[in-house]
Each structure stands twice: as C-alpha cells, then as structure tokens.
Amino acid sequence: MKQYWLAVPIILAGLIFALPARAQTMSFADAAEVLVAACGVDIEKHCGNVNLGGGKIKACLERNSAKVAAGCKSSAAQAFASLQRRAQARIDVLRVCDRDAARLCQGVQRGDGQILECMIMARRAVSPPCNQAITDAGYR
C-alpha cells in the first residue's frame, strides 16, 4: 500500500520533468513548425493582419482564444515556451561557461563564436552547468 503512495508522486514528477526537457531541445525552426502546423489556419483567419515579431501573433491568438482550435492553443503555448527557453539558453550560455572558457580556452579570445566553439569541442573537460547550458542552447 505504501509503495503506491510513493510511486504516484514519482511518476507525476517524471511526467512534469519529461515534458519541458523534450521541448527544450527544439530548434527555432522546429518550434516554428509546431506553431504553424497547429495554428497556420487560425493565424491566416484571425490574425491575418498581424506579424510574428513583437509578440503580436502570440497576443492575437490569446485574444481570439474563443475562436481558435484547441489543438492550436496547446501547440502555441508549447511552441512559444520552447522559443523563449531556447533563446534564453542561447543568450545565457557564454555567461554560464565564463569560468570554463577562462580555464580551457585561453588561447581563443577572438570572439564569442570561437569561445563557444572551443567549449562545444571541450565536452569532457567543461563543467556540468556549462555542458547543460550548451545542450539547452541546442549546440549539441
């Protein structure tokens, strides 16, 4: 009996962690594809005079949520969350890897791109947070 009580939270926790982890590995192109596959028709129909940039498509879909397909609502939430996470990870990666870069890539100081490339190649030597940041940013 006690074992069930233990198993339920573990399974729930597994589900909760599994979903974002999967979304986090999506490229921008794939996230855009998720959005368009589920919402392309609704966007053309309800947001035809609005552009993607500046959060305008996101706001328009939310504004029209009563008319938008249920599948679009969940996919849009997933796609925009993934875009946000991936962009944040890409912006954060050099800061997270700062100490590793100073330690491992001393000879490479010509630009962020070269430093990042050095970190990606130095997989076995970089710290776990830096490796995680590189993965979250989609660089491997």
């Binding site: 590995t25 490229s27 594809e33 368009v36 959060g55 912006i91 491997r140």
Partner: protein
C-alpha cells in the same frame, strides 16, 4: 572539420527525437551557415544610406527603364550571402505563416558559433511591377518585419541585424524585370560586431 562534427551530432540527435522532415530542416540551417561565413573584410554598409541612394536614383532618373536597370548597390554582390524565399501577404508587410519556419531556420543559423560574431543585412526586393518609390517603401517595410521577428521572437541581438528595402533598384534578372525571381529577400554578412 569541426563543423562536420557539430552538424553530424545535431542531425543525429534530431533523427532519433523527431521525424525525418525535421532532420532535413536542420541541414538547411547548416546550408545557411555555409553561405554566410567567410567574410574577409569589414564592409562599410549602412542600411539608411543604401535606402537613400536608391530613393535618390528614383528621383533623379524617374524615366529609367526597368529592362537592363543596373544594381544600385553593386558592392553588396561581393559579400557572403544567400537568397531566401519569404512569403508575404499581397501588397503588405505581413509574413505568411508558411514562412515562419524559414525565419526560425535563419535565426538558428545566426546563433551558430561560426556566425555569432558577425552582423547581417536583411535586404528586401520587389519586381518591377508598379511604382518604383512605392516598391522601395514596401520592400523596406518587409525587410523591417523580418528583422523585427529575428530580434524579438528569436532574440537575435538588435546590433547584429540591419534591414533595408531596395525595391526594384537591384533586380536579380534585369532582362526580365517583372519575373518572380526578382521578388526575393537576401541575407548578407556585412561585418564583425566588435
């Protein structure tokens, strides 16, 4: 050499986590990186100056034939670049959802280590149907819409992306100025960010 390793790892990861079509998309991002890397010199390119040059030519030579019309900014042709197809609503700067994936793919490429230290120019072009000055303004608005998506939705640093419209002043096929091939968007590497 390094590039191949990164590409192989990325393609493999996608192949096991997503469908085949997605892996194909990732390879396209690699093609974009290949097209845009390798800028040797810092180019002195200013988007507003290019726009003003195009506008000045329209004003100075209103009767200039579209057939055989020379490029207004020949210097752009020497820089690393690629032409992308972005679909807009008719006579509008609204990007159609069918092109969101392409925007995402461009943004993925701009975050690639090989391109991270570079600046880019988004250049919008129309064909030679309609009024030249109107086309110039429409192409500028379209280039702006692409830039806006790149710097907001995909959070590319605003300092890395400039936008200019050249209307029908830089035709891809001056022998056939109303051909569809002239309606295009270019992405051009113009310099290092620091």
């Amino acid at each position: 050499m390094n590039r191949f390793l990164i590409a192989t790892v990325a393609a493999f990861t996608l192949a096991i986590s997503q469908q085949g079509a997605v892996a194909q998309g990732k390879l396209d991002t690699d093609d974009i990186v290949d097209s845009l890397r390798g800028l040797e010199q810092q180019a002195q390119i200013s988007a507003p100056a290019l726009y003003q040059r195009a506008l000045a030519r329209i004003k100075a030579e209103p009767g200039m034939s579209a057939v055989g019309r020379p490029s207004v900014a020949e210097e752009l042709n020497k820089l690393p670049q690629l032409t992308v197809e972005i679909q807009f609503n008719f006579d509008s700067d609204i990007i159609r959802p069918a092109s969101y994936r392409t925007l995402g793919r461009i943004a993925d490429a701009l975050y690639h280590p090989y391109l991270l230290d570079y600046k880019f120019l988004v250049v919008g072009h129309t064909d030679a149907t309609g009024k030249r000055e109107y086309n110039l303004k429409l192409s500028q608005r379209r280039a702006n819409a692409i830039r806006e998506a790149l710097v907001t939705t995909f959070r590319i640093s605003p300092a890395r992306v400039a936008a200019v419209g050249l209307g029908e002043e830089q035709l891809q096929d001056p022998a056939q100025p109303t051909a569809a091939v002239n309606r295009r968007v270019q992405l051009i590497a113009t310099g290092k960010i620091k």
